[in-house]
Symmetry: C2
Subunit: 202 residues, 2 copies
DNA sequence: TATTTATCTGAATATTTGCTCACTTATTGA
DNA sequence: TCAATAAGTGAGCAAATATTCAGATAAATA
């Protein structure tokens, strides 16, 4: 259960890579179908069209499968945010905030319920999650550092980034997952941008 | 597993009520101790000081125990928010927002990890959760309706409530659960109030 | 008090499920 | 061509865990 993370074979050949992809893809498919009860190792293997033995060739235990998916998600968000920061190094604060929020929303829209369901499976204190929060924190800190002159002078940066992180995360998440009927995605996006800017400029 | 919710005996005598309390209390204690792996029916019964049979007298299956706790939590938040709305019927917008946020933070500070861990156990689409979101939505709508004159005129109320709900929830949640070291709870609270007001007044 | 109803018990059962391992098949490279 | 290595298989084991049930105890009630 609390496994010692036995090292497993790394996929070298092409078909091995395909097997790993099939396994991860199967988990996504099961999660999307909303039947998390059938998220058993045997069923994952079946849905992936591979034998249960193959699963254990590449993943030391069940949790490692979820961790791999979680890591992928984190990496993508990371990459997306990095790209936005570079691309908008000289943009206005408004353009930067809008780009950040739109990028985050698009990243989550790709697999709406994934993150939510994964975070129920991946232990919250596992290294990756914490690191991710730190990197997000760092990225946001960097992002607003370039626009300090547009902010109120006596601001506590840590406090600002704390609020910013939670606002962006929950609004983007909410826009994709919990948007009430009658509100379009673009309207929610725009309102999120508006809210963040209102806070930053206050 | 996907149980048909067999009806169970309702506690009529006093000691039966105590048994139910002991069971729910034991789950809280185990969650607080941070050992969610030992959240088994047999261990819950043992920690509650009752026999496993008694558990199944009042709960048709394991999940029902968590649902009961979830419902309690929802009821408390509901009660707290209702009380604030009544108590601040004639207060200023700022006082109302501050009271709401402080109440939410206090409600979550009481059992920090409870909600987070419960939401991993209780299926997200279960009736209660959805209803709760609607009621929260309604409460916030009511709350700002009395202060429309302080808001920008051409506001979309649904959109405002959408953002408001997510801001309050994530900032309160974050202030209690994910507050970085170096930020005090009262500082986070104050900043949350500030952010919400900045948004509403923008 | 006698009877009925409610509550409690916990060993035993039934089920689920993560995971192994002995073996087969495919690919590589010398 | 032919070892050597990589990949794949799936029946079955072992452990964990939810749940039952037949019977004991306590409280309520007539």
């Amino acid at each position: 259960m609390t496994s010692a993370a036995t090292p497993r074979r790394a996929p070298r050949q092409h078909r091995a890579q395909q097997t790993v992809e099939a396994i991860l893809g199967a988990v996504l498919r099961i999660l999307r179908r909303g039947h998390p009860d059938s998220l058993t190792t045997n069923h994952i293997a079946e849905a992936a069209g591979v034998s249960i033995g193959s699963v254990y060739q590449y993943f030391p235990d069940k949790r490692a499968i979820f961790s791999a998916l979680h890591q992928r998600h984190i990496d993508e968000i990371d990459r997306v945010i990095g790209a936005v920061l570079i691309q908008h190094a000289t943009s206005s604060l408004e353009a930067l905030v809008r780009a950040l929020i739109e990028a985050m929303i698009e990243a989550h829209a790709h697999d709406p319920a994934l993150y939510e369901l994964l975070s129920a499976e991946v232990p919250h204190r596992a290294g990756g999650t914490q690191d991710f929060a730190l990197r997000l924190h760092g990225a946001f800190r960097l992002a607003i550092a370039a626009h300090l002159h547009e902010l109120a002078p006596a601001r506590n940066l840590d406090l600002t980034v704390f609020v910013l992180t939670h606002m962006v995360e929950s609004l983007c998440h909410g826009a994709v997952l919990r948007r009430p009927p009658g509100i379009t995605l673009s309207a929610a996006t725009e309102e999120a941008v508006h809210a963040v800017l209102a806070y930053l400029r206050s």
